[in-house]
């Protein structure tokens, strides 16, 4: 069970070049909006036709530009959960689910709808029209409809973008369970690294229509490697760096700093990154940086403190520190430590 994708498509000035392989797993496609995530899914589903490439699902060729194979969407067995779910407004939830089971004979179809409704807790919703359903129910109907069509792969396009955040948490758990019981390949498109981290072990990063090699999510968080990957993984502090005079050190000219760094220097590194929640106020220790407090923003449970390291150039970026509220006391200046093992060395 595997999905191998290799597609190229030009759309005006935007070009998509994506390549990845998904095994029997929930693989994440992580990227900012407009990077080509949805377009990639549409190419796999057969809604859009790539200019070049090859898409193979469980040994079946869905698309091959060289052999001129283009399977219509109807024959691909690709389940697509649209961002807004695309439920048929003129049908009840029950009819929507049955619409997915078109290949089954009538009696079997009814049984299938009943099964899926029970599995997704939709018994009470069956007679309702989509606009009478809550966001979460709409999503479950859309999922039931997809499962009714017995897909070989499930594509989830930002599954929670249409939902209120208080609904998301519970639904995310349910969706995760559902995908596990589905047991096949699934692609989970998202721009939210937290969502991806909680639900997918491996991730394929997409940036400006280009894909990076598939990697482990944990590894992405620990060592993103490039600035864009670090940004997608949630890192918020970046600054240009030069190698320091001794090994294990780096120079950060814009902040006027020399920092110890646990990761060894490598060719091609141009920037450092450090996550806002790894920076802590400190009286002593390594990489102690005296700073002025420029601005304090209170979040719900945390405080975001924007710091200007003493000796910064005027155009230097501010350092962003996030810490739990109880650890913060109002002050105008303080020293923070940038833990050497938390400093990410990044290529452009």
């Amino acid at each position: 069970m595997a999905l191998s994708v290799e597609v190229e498509k030009r759309l005006g000035s935007f070009s998509l070049q994506v390549q990845f392989q998904a095994e029997t797993e929930v693989l994440a496609l992580l990227g900012a909006s407009g990077c080509g995530k949805s377009m990639t899914l549409k190419c796999i589903a057969g809604i859009e036709r790539p200019d070049r490439g090859r898409i193979v699902l469980d040994g079946r060729v869905l698309f091959d530009s060289e052999k001129r194979i283009v399977l219509p969407p109807q024959k691909r067995r690709v389940g697509y959960l649209f961002q807004q779910y695309a439920l048929f407004p003129n049908m009840t939830a029950e009819q929507n689910i049955a619409a997915g089971a078109g290949s089954l004979e009538k009696s079997r179809r009814k049984q299938k709808v009943t099964e899926l409704a029970a599995m997704l807790h939709l018994e009470d919703a069956l007679k309702k029209r989509p606009h009478q359903l809550s966001g979460g129910q709409q999503q479950r109907v859309a999922l039931a409809r997809i499962l009714a069509s017995e897909p070989a792969v499930i594509l989830l396009d930002e599954p929670f973008s249409a939902l209120d955040s208080y609904l998301k948490y519970q639904l995310e758990l349910e969706l995760s369970d559902l995908l596990r019981s589905f047991g096949g390949t699934a692609l989970w498109v998202s721009h939210d690294r937290g969502e991806v981290f909680r639900n997918c072990r491996r991730v394929c990063l997409l940036e400006n229509g280009r894909s990076a090699p598939v990697r482990e999510m944990a590894q992405l968080m620990a060592d993103p490697g490039t600035v864009s990957a670090a940004r997608l993984s949630g890192c918020k502090n970046f600054a240009p760096v030069l190698p320091g005079p001794e090994s294990g050190t780096v120079e950060v000219p814009c902040w006027g700093l020399r920092l110890r760094c646990a990761a060894p220097w490598r060719q091609g590194v141009t920037a450092m990154g450090i996550r806002a929640n790894t920076i802590r106020p400190a009286g002593e220790g390594e990489n102690l940086v005296p700073c002025r407090v420029e601005r304090v923003v209170e979040d719900v449970f945390t405080v975001i403190v924007l710091l200007r390291p003493e000796g910064s150039r005027p155009d230097a970026p501010l350092l962003r520190m996030e810490l739990p509220k109880e650890q913060w006391q109002k002050q105008d200046a303080l020293a923070v430590s940038l833990p050497p093992e938390q400093i990410l060395l990044l290529e452009p």
Binding site: R76, H131, Q138
Partner: protein, 226 residues
């Protein structure tokens, strides 16, 4: 009062509306899918009868259907049929005149259709025919119905092209509109007025129907959960 003109008007309007229902939807469906350049040309062609004076439409029809013209002569020779000056000649006239109304409302409805619904149906293995009858048409139902009623109303009132192609023969080709004109011309004011009242009543009912359809569309909301 001889009710023949009412009967004739209604059957002409009903038949041409039935024809236009399919022709208009078909044209709208395919024009919505064609590339932009072809779309522009076809759109102009299909909308033209709406802006042309009905007499011009009548003239053009006579040039085609007259007994000595291309189609007219052919029909006369092969089937012995005269295409003009019969009650059903008016169907040609009304069909051409009301076609743009159906075509444009149907196209508007198709263009506002959410294409992701069709895409979703395709990934679920459904054929384009199924999508057309089970998703596209039901979702565009209100617009198409409104277009049909509007086309029917316009067909009932058609005068210019009808009078040229079908003429006015009492008891044969007379419609409400040609009858009113004829009665007025022959100073039969009282009877003309009665037909005017009949016409007003029908038109009012039809427009009421259109309004109710449109209100239902608004209240139902195309996709209120978005």
């Amino acid at each position: 009062m001889d009710w023949y003109p009412l009967y004739n008007s209604l059957r002409i309007a009903a038949i041409s509306t039935a024809l236009i229902f399919f022709l208009g939807i078909l044209a709208a469906y395919y024009v919505a899918k064609t590339p932009r350049l072809v779309k522009g040309v076809l759109d102009v062609l299909f909308t033209l009868p709406l802006v042309l004076p009905p007499t011009v439409v009548g003239y053009l029809l006579l040039r085609l259907l007259g007994p000595k013209r291309i189609i007219g002569a052919w029909a006369l020779e092969h089937f012995g049929l005269r295409l003009t000056m019969t009650w059903w000649s008016a169907i040609f006239a009304t069909t051409v005149v009301i076609f743009p109304l159906m075509y444009r409302t149907a196209r508007g409805a198709f263009e506002s259709f959410d294409e992701t619904l069709a895409q979703a149906a395709r990934t679920l293995g459904r054929s384009n025919t199924w999508i057309f009858w089970r998703i596209r048409m039901p979702c565009c139902k209100q617009g198409i119905l409104a277009g049909t009623v509007l086309a029917f109303a316009r067909a009932l009132g058609e005068y210019g092209a009808t009078s040229m192609v079908a003429g006015y023969t009492p008891g044969r080709t007379a419609t409400i509109s040609t009858t009113v004109y004829q009665l007025w011309r022959t100073d039969n004011d009282a009877l003309a007025f009665r037909w005017v009242l009949v016409n007003l009543a029908i038109s009012a009912v039809v427009l009421l129907a259109v309004n109710m359809l449109e209100r239902r569309e608004k209240k139902g909301g195309k996709r209120p959960w978005r």
